[in-house]
Structure formats: structure tokens, C-alpha cells
């Protein structure tokens, strides 16, 4: 009886020790990998299998909880909120690097944090004072139609050529070029979108464009500086970047 007790206890002790040891080992491994994720050049993480696996696993969890509500569970965005599609290589701000995404996750866009992006909004041209920061002329319904026809021309959808031609002049007179550029290519330094491609933050139907020009737009991405830890912010940035570079993820 005493001997049976002894072996049984020994087996139990071994099992408990093994579990404790594995748990401790795993959490140490995770903690050290996470620390390495934080110390690494953010834009080198996706190329390092060990760091990538830690960052992507944890980053997906953060994304699902804090970003998916606006950017969609798959990151494809939401045109009714103007939440960017994060899976394409088209970026409003900067070049889409992990470091830049992390900055957006931490400090936000138009989110009340001065570190964040907050340089321009799309003016509401159907109002007395289209823009609070810059003196810009309000536009008449006809001018807004001309501008819409002009913007539609870049994707071959103009239905009124003479309105389109008037739109070219209106684009200059209304000061659009100041933010979107003379070539309408946009400005990643202030988040003004490219107006010549088929990528639309708020939808590219004629009525969407009219609504944008008339009432303005100012999408906000929240600043998570005080909500998420440094590790969570880094992980979610790496995960978000991986959505736009699926190639790197499977390499």
C-alpha cells in the first residue's frame, strides 16, 4: 500500500511539474519573442518567421476587437464610414509601412491627439464657409455637377462632356488643387486622396461624389495610445500591414 502510494504520488508530481515547466517555458518564450518584436525595426518583423508569428497571432486578436468594427473583419473597409480598405496597397497617409500604421493606431487620425494626423478635411462646398481653415469659394449646384463630371472622366464615366470641360476650370477656381494636387494625384502628407483612380474612400458613384463635394468629409480613426499597450499596438500594426502584403505573409 505504501509503495503504491509512493509511485502514484511520484507520477502526479511529475505531471504537475511538467505542466508548470511547459507553461513557464512557453510564457518565457512568448515574453522574450514579444520583447524582440518591440525592439525590432517594425518593418523587418514580417520577414522574420519567429517575430512574425508572434505579432500576427496577437495582432489579429487586437484587430478583431478594436479595428474590425470600422475597417471590417477582413480589413476591407467601409465606404459608409470612409474607413479605408486596409488590404490594398493604396494608402491615404504615408506609404503604409508598419511604423506608420502603428503611429495611426497609437495617435489616430483627426482623433484629438496632436501627434496624430489632423492637417486637412474635405471642405463642404455647399455651405457658406466651406472650410474653417482656408478661405474657399462655395460652389453652385451647377459647378458641383461640373466637378462631378470632371472627376468621373478619370474612370471613363463622364456623361456630359461640356460639363466635364467646365469642371476643369472649376477644379482650379475652387482650390481643389491645393490639397489634391494639380494632377489630382492626392497628397499623402495630409491625407488627401488620389481622385483619378478607381479607389474610393466614400464610394465613387456620382451621388457619392456629389455628397462628398456638397457636405464635406472628415473620417476619424481613433487614437489607442491610452487603450492598448505598446506590444498590442505593434502587433496590430504588423497584422494590418500583413493584410496589404499577403505575399510576405506566406513567404
Amino acid at each position: 500500500m505504501a509503495v503504491r502510494l509512493k509511485t502514484r504520488s511520484a507520477v502526479w508530481a511529475a505531471v504537475v511539474l511538467a505542466i508548470a515547466g511547459t507553461t513557464a517555458g512557453l510564457s518565457w518564450w512568448r515574453a522574450s519573442a514579444q520583447a524582440d518584436v518591440l525592439r525590432a525595426d517594425p518593418d523587418a518583423i514580417l520577414r522574420d518567421p519567429r517575430l512574425r508569428s508572434v505579432a500576427l497571432t496577437n495582432g489579429k486578436r487586437v484587430f478583431d476587437k478594436h479595428c474590425a468594427a470600422c475597417h471590417g473583419p477582413d480589413g476591407r473597409g467601409d465606404i459608409t464610414l470612409g474607413a479605408s480598405d486596409l488590404t490594398d496597397s493604396d494608402t491615404l497617409y504615408g506609404t503604409g509601412s508598419v511604423a506608420q500604421i502603428e503611429e495611426i493606431a497609437r495617435y489616430g487620425i483627426r482623433a484629438g491627439n496632436k501627434h496624430g494626423w489632423n492637417l486637412a478635411v474635405m471642405p463642404a462646398y455647399a455651405s457658406k464657409v466651406p472650410d474653417a481653415a482656408e478661405a474657399l469659394p462655395p460652389q453652385s449646384p451647377a459647378q458641383i455637377e461640373d466637378l462631378t463630371q470632371y472627376l468621373l472622366s478619370f474612370t471613363g464615366r463622364t456623361t456630359d462632356v461640356s460639363a466635364m470641360k467646365r469642371g476643369i476650370t472649376a477644379y482650379t477656381k475652387a482650390g481643389c488643387w491645393d490639397c489634391h494636387g494639380r494632377d489630382l494625384g492626392g497628397d499623402p502628407a495630409i491625407g488627401a486622396p488620389n481622385l483619378t483612380d478607381a479607389v474610393w474612400l466614400y464610394g465613387g458613384r456620382p451621388e457619392d461624389i456629389r455628397r462628398t463635394l456638397q457636405r464635406g468629409r472628415a473620417g476619424k480613426s481613433p487614437a489607442f495610445a491610452r487603450v492598448l499597450t505598446a506590444a498590442e499596438l505593434r502587433n496590430v500594426a504588423v497584422y494590418t500591414a500583413s493584410l496589404a502584403h499577403p505575399g510576405q505573409e506566406t513567404k
Partner: protein, 299 residues
Amino acid sequence: MSKQPPLASDPQVAIWDIHQPVGRRSMLLAAAASLIGLAIAGYGLFTAQGTRTAAVPAEDAALVNNVPILRADLIAQITALYSVPLAQTTLAQRQKVLEDMIREELYVQRGIEMGLSNDDIDVRQALVQATEGQIAQDAMTSKPAEDELATWYGSHMEKYASEGLVTLHEWLVPRGSDGQQAVAALRKGAAPASLGLKTTGRVDDGEEFYFAAEQHLGEPLFAIARKMEDGTVSAPIPMPDGLHILQMIRNKRPVTTPYAQARDQVLADFLADKVARLQAGNQRFLKKRADIKIASDLK
């Protein structure tokens, strides 16, 4: 020794026999327990959020009097200064930027030590703005539920109406002519020129938004215009320069924008309202918590 209960003959068996007290077993268990305790405490101490130890935490580039300088902020400054990705900068370049950031942190800390946060006008304004900004920032981090947004839209629908559109004429009745007669003739379809009416030139650009027509006509006349139906003519309106007549061609009243098309604005307004309420609440809280003494002549 002799007073203790008799020990089992085989000590190896006895130590695992929980029915028998064994001094060595107690010691072993106590030692194991304290080791586990120490390990847990140590793990907690070195990994807990916000713990500052002698070592620089992984997310920080430096600690200045225990105030962290984030690696992420350092990277942002390095890449902004040299306009190349981090990987293309040298250690010397990174160190230089870090040195500048440490200098800034030292000066900020010294400034606070000297009470500049109270004295300097710019610092005071920046602090007020930053405190307000912080509240706004925190309010935005959770997206409101869809039914909250829909309810807000439902109770503020007029905010999401389109801007109304008008196309109209504004005629000036020549001095000495009968305004009532001119109106009656216009209503019968007479040509304005045949009645000697002249346009005021204020609304001749065709279709206009309400806000523009209001600017051009002035508030009193626009208030009349916005109520007119298509194809109607107003009564003569006395103005300082004579009688005016409004002739409405087309009045497209504002129409409510469907929720799906107003959703971005609904979210923005909902959050702005939440922020305003939080700011007010914060102000009440600060006042309640503070000890404010006001001179008797100013009470």
C-alpha cells in the same frame, strides 16, 4: 525527540504518507512554496504594465528620470528627419535624434520643476487643449453600436437633410408703378419686361443652394422665398429701394438623406455630442474635487 510520534521505519515511505507528520516533508513543501511565490512575484515585477526597472523596457528607447521615450516616437522622428526608412539610417543618426529627444525631455522636466506649466501662456494653453483633447480621444476609441447610431439619426434627421435648391427671379417695380397690378399680370403669365420690371441681378445665376440664395436675398426675402411653390409669384414686398417681387421657378426643398448615406456624419456628430457631454462632466468633476476660494467681493 523522544516526545515526537514514532516515525515510520522506512523514511522514504513515510515522507509521502500524508497520514504521518514528517519534519522533512514540511520543510520541503515550505521551500517549494516559497520558491513558487518568489517566481510569481519576480515574473510580475519584471513584466507588469508600467513597471519601470533598472533595465529599459522593450518598447522604450530610453528612460529619462524614469520617463520613457518610446521607440515608436524615436522611429517617427528619425524617418521624418532623414526621409528614409529606418533600416537605411546609421546608428550615429539614430543616436543623434535620441540625444535631441532626451534633451527635450530634460527641458520639459526642468520646466515643470520651475513651475512653467503655471506661468507660461503658451504652455498653459497647450495644457488646456491637450487635456480637452485627451477626453475627446478617449471618447472615440469605442465605436458606438449600430442601434445607438440609428437612434441618434432618427432624432436628428433634419441635420442630415440635403441643402435645398431654388431657381427664382427677383424683380424691382419701377417707382410710381402699381406693384399689385404687376403681380397680377405676372401671375397671368405676362413677360416681366413688358411690365417695366427689372431684375435686381442678385439671383440671376440659375439654380442656387438655399444658403447662397439667403446670402443673396437677405434673410427677410429668403424667408418668403423658401415657402413659395413652383411657378408662384409673391405679393409686392416693400424694401428700402422700392417694391420687390419674387417669382419662383423651382423650389426643391431639403430632403432627408437616408441613414446609409449619412452614416459617416452621424458617427461624427454622435461622437462630438458624447465628447461635449464628457467635457462638461469632467469640468463638473474638477470643480467638485477642487478647493476653490473666491474673494468675498466677487462671490
